[in-house]
Amino acid sequence: MLRSVGLNAPEELFDTIPADILLRDLLKTPDALSEPELIARFESIAAKNSAAHRPSFLGAGAYSHYQPTIVDSLISRSEFFTAYTPYQPEISQGTLQAIFEFQTLVCQLTGMDVANASMYDGSTSVAEAVLMAERVTRRRKVVVSGALHPEYLHVAETYVAHAGIDLVHAGFDEQTGTTNFDELGSLDEGTAAIVVQSPNFFGCVEDINALAERAHKVGALLVVCVTESISLGLLRAPGEAGADIVVAEGQSFGVPLSFGGPYLGLFATREKYARQLPGRLVGVAADKEGRRGFVLTLATREQHIRREKATSNICTNEGLIALMATIYLETMGRQGLQEVAMQCAQKAAYAARRITEIEGFSLPYSATPRFNEFVVRAPVAADGLLRRLASERNITGGLALSRYFPERTNDILICVTETNPRTEIDALAAGLAELTK
């Protein structure tokens, strides 16, 4: 082939690169491994992730749910996973129709009018929601609940650092574990939005209706963030409760934990704000013969057309993960989504009951409604207790809140899902009891 383009040596292909920056030697990356060697090596690396092989009560933004087998089998069709962004609709209708179904499902679950084709994840969706609220309201102050996932808050702060937006932190009520309404006093005519997570980081369900009222009174938007999207199978849809933008982490919809990514940002809003949405949108279109098809639409919002004036810089999103979620949601369907949500809530309630029975343990926010996560206050330091639970009982007992709140030394955030059989819950309770005796 070289000859056919008039060259004699591969080096000549790189003639347009100045000689002084051309590499002379091979890179010092590892030598090539054959398939069996690579597999053996990666399996041995993976085996070191001991937490992956153990019953777990970790949640806090990433959840263990059962993934129906067909999800992975269908996304593994090369027609889906090797395709590019559907810029050529005539040969991308599979992807486009799936996204259209995804958008519809997100609307149905959140109770909103329009949803986009996905964002990177829940955390960046919150940040983009803050930016969008500013675009919509042309106001520059955003009040953020102190019960928002701390990593989400950190991301939002980073995103808006140079956007001229003032992020104001509202605390949360130590009695109820929910956003502190009184601290929302800072709400005024300059406020673009209130951002609140529900169920919040501590597992407590927020009163969205009340928050929406507060926000709307001053002309601000209410942004609701959901990290445990399975809760949408049981909890009132945020849209119905008055939210203006709903963002969520969609990982719960059949997406593996995968050490934090790839996950799936859901982003939905009201019809009237559709043109302020970040990210891609798929809409219905027709060909000359009137046949229905789907296309990427409202592209004038996007960076490849609007460049620096775009609603976001996002280009590649989480397409395949959105497809996973779509397949998950359609497989579970109307009944299944309610059943799995109910199981999570029931099992969490059972676990909470079992744990409060243990001497020395309490639930600081026991009076507040919750879904499948709750804070437990232990009689000893959480860190050490969890370490012993892991090493002596082979249970990952939850998250020590000191990871994010150093002063909360004894608090553990526990999450229970349909994947935790009763025996595991009982073993957790037994472990907590015995290790603190």
Partner: protein, 506 residues
Amino acid sequence: MNKASTHITQNEALIFERSQTGRKGYMLPALDVDETPIDELLPAKFRRTDDLEGVPEVSEVDVVRHFTRISTWNYNIDLGMYPLGSCTMKYNSRLNERVARIKGFANLHPLASEEDSQGALQLLYELQQSLSEITGLAAISLQPAAGAHGEMTGIMLIRAFLDARDGVGEGDRPRRNVMLIPDSAHGTNPASAHLSGFTVKTVRSTPEGQTDLEALRELCAAGDVAGLMLTNPNTVGLFERSIKEICQIVHDAGGLVYMDGANMNALVGWARPGDMGVDVIHLNLHKTFSTPHGGGGPGSGPCCCTKELEPYLPVPRVVLEGDRYKLDFNYPKSIGRVKAFYGNFGMAVRALSYIETHGADGLREATEAAVLNARVIAHGLASDYDKPFEAAPMHEVVFTDKRQARKGVHTLDIAKRLIDYGFHPMTIYFPLIVQGAMLIEPTESVGRQEIQQFIEAMRAIAREALETPDLVTNAPHTTRIGRLDEAAAARKPVLRWKPEEKAAVA
């Protein structure tokens, strides 16, 4: 709705239109704990009231058939060449997919303790090491989820570095608020610069498809330049020959150079941005390192920078201390965090697998093949299509529709007609500076035979444009649906299915 044909697989409806009350596609283990009464569990005012109306009710077979059918309406890499310029549609190895699904990776919770996730941290660390070696840049963050996200991160690094260097305090107006971006750049570049509060100024390209050094010098003279965002090879597929001088000019003006690494597939193993004077770069693991595009994502856009910029990288960083891998949060100058957890870990697994199955020589050979393939196409089509730039292209080559346009056949038509020959179209109308651009990137994942088939198809289309232009302007002819009216779709957007709109939509 008219039927595309009588064929059931060609007329698969929306799943909502297939739903039938009471059908189920799942089964869960029975609830094994004592039930709490529902009102005790959650007061009614917090509960859903709509019984999830509208959410589909279908069987498992329904779901499998639904997605299998609509999947056949997609083109994909395994069917043939997917020569999207700038997108690097290379083969997505099944081995990478396999190892990413190993339970120890797939089931690992991101908040597991360091002790319990040593394997994952090791993998991230080793990928950082390899990417550092490949780019010649000292420090890496794997947190960004895609190219644009990496751009945003990199630009924020520049801002943070300059503010610190120039003594700009919090709340002060930064001294340098201009980001220079060539007119040929991808749209994400200005959008990302804007997100970090920069004003974008455009740098001209020369008729030869290179950055105009004079224009650059002029812009830099203003003293407000924070940096330059440059793609190299640039978006017309040419290596920026004066890259070192470009970096020098920007550095002399007190700015930094950001390189959009989308085109690294032309360089891996042959040249390193770090050796060119570049300060910060993002990579697209979903391009150069073969992680699947997935119909639009997920991606991964590692941000790689010099030692000087390292203190500003997002936290946590993955570091090695003795024989333990750690998440290090202790970077007080860090710009913060651009994503929860640690980036798209699953893509990191695939990318490392790519790097390790290729080995250093395999990586070099892949680059060589990618460039050679583009060169063969450049030669093969030069007689039939207008090639706006003389210089030898790297991994992708741009042509235009200039000759065909005389007959009323435009880039869009040529692209659509390619579909009838079994190829995905090339990237069209990008970059914007080339009128009627057709940007062709074959990648290394195509054999000689298929490259020839592609060239023949393109030549056949050139002949058709002369002889039977209607055939081309009405293409594609072999797809389920014809060209869609995108303008009408945008005018009155229907963005979701609704029961009451069933009739209207259908």
